[in-house]
């Protein structure tokens, strides 16, 4: 009898040990994705019902609070710059030669007709700081075994109150996310593909965003080049750089 109890206890603790907690998974995701600084060159392909548009950009970010993005093409968007400093966002448009602060409801508007909002563009915060996570199961996505997690916001200062994410068990990348409003309405879907190991981190080279309240076939986000923990001039992350 004693032996049986020991075996049961062993199996139980063994299984328990294999399933990380939600908090552990979020920490692993943040460890993998977050970096001190990052330079990213990307293409955003917006698939509308009439056709697709490609917008190229380059962004420099430091930590989770400061980033600078410059749009490189098409000609209509070329020279548009965005600066995020903590919870504030500014946009510079060369055609008007104006620096405009984006705030309030405007943060929820689409960026250049894409499926991403300004708020989404700003969202670089670690998941662990805004959400409490619970592992609800194990599912397969795109041939990868994933932990299914339900994330509930622990403060009101988030764009999406509730998230459901599917995290790759091996690489700790959230391969699929569903983002919900407090009312329970599904607002956005996000999927990550072409995961590659870059400078010791697993990173997706292609992401697909879909605004569920909008028509169209979503927005693809291609990462053409990414460098982690590189130094760049501090002056780039200031308002003065918007007009340069």
């Amino acid at each position: 009898m004693k032996k049986i109890l020991i075996i049961i206890l062993f199996i139980y603790t063994g299984c328990y040990g294999q399933t990380p907690t939600g908090e552990e998974i979020l920490n692993r995701i943040d460890e993998n994705m977050a970096s001190e600084s990052r330079i990213l060159t990307s293409r955003m392909v917006i698939h509308g019902r009439r056709g697709s548009r490609t917008i190229e950009s380059k962004s420099w970010s430091e930590g989770e609070d400061r980033s600078f993005t410059e749009y490189l093409s098409p000609p209509r968007e070329k020279g548009v710059k965005m600066l995020k400093l903590e919870d504030q966002l500014w946009m510079f448009s060369p055609s008007t030669d104006r620096t405009i602060q984006i705030s309030g409801h405007m943060l929820r508007q689409s960026v250049m007709g894409s499926d991403l909002s300004y708020e989404d563009m700003m969202d670089d915060k670690k998941l662990i700081s805004d959400y409490d996570a619970v592992v609800v199961g194990s599912e397969e996505f795109e041939g990868q075994q994933c932990w299914a997690l339900e994330l509930t916001a622990n403060n009101d200062d988030v764009a999406y109150f509730f998230r459901k994410i599917w995290v790759d068990k091996d690489r700790y990348i959230p391969l699929k996310s569903e983002l919900f409003a407090k009312s329970g309405q599904l607002l956005k879907k996000m999927e990550m593909f072409d995961i590659e190991k870059i400078e010791g981190r697993w990173f997706p080279k292609r992401m697909v965003f879909k605004d569920m309240l909008k028509d169209g076939d979503g927005t693809e986000f291609f990462i053409d080049d990414i460098q982690f923990n590189v130094k760049f001039p501090e002056s780039l992350l200031t308002k003065a750089s918007l007009r340069k």
């Binding site: 405009i100 309030g104 028509d215 169209g216």
Partner: protein
């Protein structure tokens, strides 16, 4: 006979004054309700037509499906050609393109940085064309409180309330475009934060060359004709129907947009209901008044019967009296009702203070509207109910027994 009855009524005020007051009051209410409903509901429909729906509207099929989102990426491309075709096919209508959009209006400080800003609803209309009917249609000139009508590219009109909120004055620069004046639309939803720009500016700003979200059609006489609009839509849609092309044009009548069909149907039903309620209610009131009158005239009728007047003759003379009272009461009631309606048509009631937070596109000043039927509609309940009331109360005459008349008269 009529002269005889009229004299009787005039000389005996107890027989005429109260019934005429009751009939007049009912008729005043009927006329007023009719003109008020016509005014308020008609204004709502008219405002919708002018600002949003047109008498008919042409859009792409996909734009029409998602119209709540104002999906300008699904706008019709090639509007010049389509407008030419519409002008040829429907010469009795005026066609104009519009673009609606949402956005942010940003006012800079002296360093060019954000000083104040607010979200806005934008409406791009044809402002620059010579004799553009849009200026009259949207009542723009009269709505301008400060500044002038835009006449240069890049100039816009901003709602007055928004300009005060953002502390913007005519001539100030705002993001992307410069303003020339402020307007008050008389609609809370737009006064809170709307801008008007010329269609060419919007096409440049939104990258919509020769495209627009909507082409609105208006009957040249400015009056919405539901049957005609539905017919035009039917004809257009059968000519341009292309199920495989989601960007093929589709036309919708005012009735088919913004759930206005229920409003139009309601307008028709409301008049019927008002008349029915007043006929019914006034019949009850006048029946009661007739009964009271009958009781009061109990002795008179008894005497008339006792001296040999035929019961039918007494009954008919009473009905004739009530017809006269109905005509006089309806006439007086119609005049008073129309006078009140005229005042409300001219001055209206400003409900702006009670609709501060509304997002409905309805006028803030509610007005009555005197329609042709308002001149006679009061006669229907005025005459019918009075006569019906007398007919019901007069039945008692036939229940009087001649044998008991003298006994009653002795008392």
């Amino acid at each position: 006979m009529i002269r005889f009855l009229l004299k009787g009524l005039l000389r005996d005020k107890n027989r005429s004054l109260l019934p005429i007051i009751v009939v007049s009051s009912g008729v005043i209410l009927t006329v007023f309700m009719r003109t008020w409903l016509s005014g308020v509901l008609g204004d709502m429909v008219d405002f919708s037509a002018r600002y949003s729906t047109g008498h008919v509207k042409v859009m792409t099929r996909s734009y029409a499906e998602n119209i709540d989102q104002i999906p300008n990426d699904l706008a019709y491309i090639g509007i010049s050609d389509l407008k030419d075709k519409l002008r040829t096919a429907y010469p009795d209508m005026n066609w104009t393109e519009r673009i609606s959009f949402g956005g942010l209006l940003d006012a800079p400080d002296e360093n060019g940085e954000t000083r104040s800003q607010g979200t806005v609803i934008g409406m791009a209309v044809n402002l620059f064309s010579e004799n553009s009917p849009e200026i009259d249609r949207l009542n723009i000139l009269k709505s301008i409180i400060d500044g002038t009508l835009p006449d240069e590219p890049g100039e816009i009109l901003i709602s007055h309330d928004l300009s005060e909120k953002l502390e913007i004055h005519p001539g100030d620069e705002v993001t992307l475009i410069s303003s020339t004046g402020t307007v008050r639309f008389g609609m809370v939803a737009m006064d809170k934060g709307a801008i008007i720009v010329d269609i060419s500016d919007a096409q440049i700003a939104l990258d919509m060359n020769d495209a627009s979200g909507e082409i609105l059609g208006y009957f040249n006489n400015g009056i919405y004709d539901d049957l005609e609009a539905v017919e035009v839509c039917k004809q257009f849609n059968s000519n341009y129907r292309n199920e495989e092309d989601e960007f093929s044009p589709v036309m919708r009548s005012l009735r088919e947009q913004n759930e206005l069909s229920s409003m139009l149907d309601y307008m028709d039903y409301a008049v019927g209901i008002v008349i029915f309620v007043f006929v019914f209610a006034m019949s009850l009131v006048l029946w009661n008044a007739g009964l009271l009158g009958g009781l009061r005239r109990y002795g008179e009728i008894g005497l008339r019967l006792a001296i040999g007047e035929n019961k039918g003759h007494v009954y008919r003379s009473m009905i004739s009296e009530s017809v006269l009272i109905g005509i006089i009461g309806s006439f007086i009631g119609t005049i008073i009702g129309l006078s009140i309606s005229y005042l409300l048509q001219k001055y209206g009631i400003d409900t702006g203070a009670y609709m501060k937070n509304t997002s409905l596109m309805i006028p803030t000043v509610l007005r009555a509207k005197i329609t042709p039927d308002a001149y006679y509609i009061g006669f229907i309940p005025g005459l019918i109910s009075t006569t019906l009331g007398t007919m019901l109360s007069g039945i008692g005459i036939y229940k009087r027994k001649t044998a008991q008349l003298f006994k009653e008269l002795e008392v």
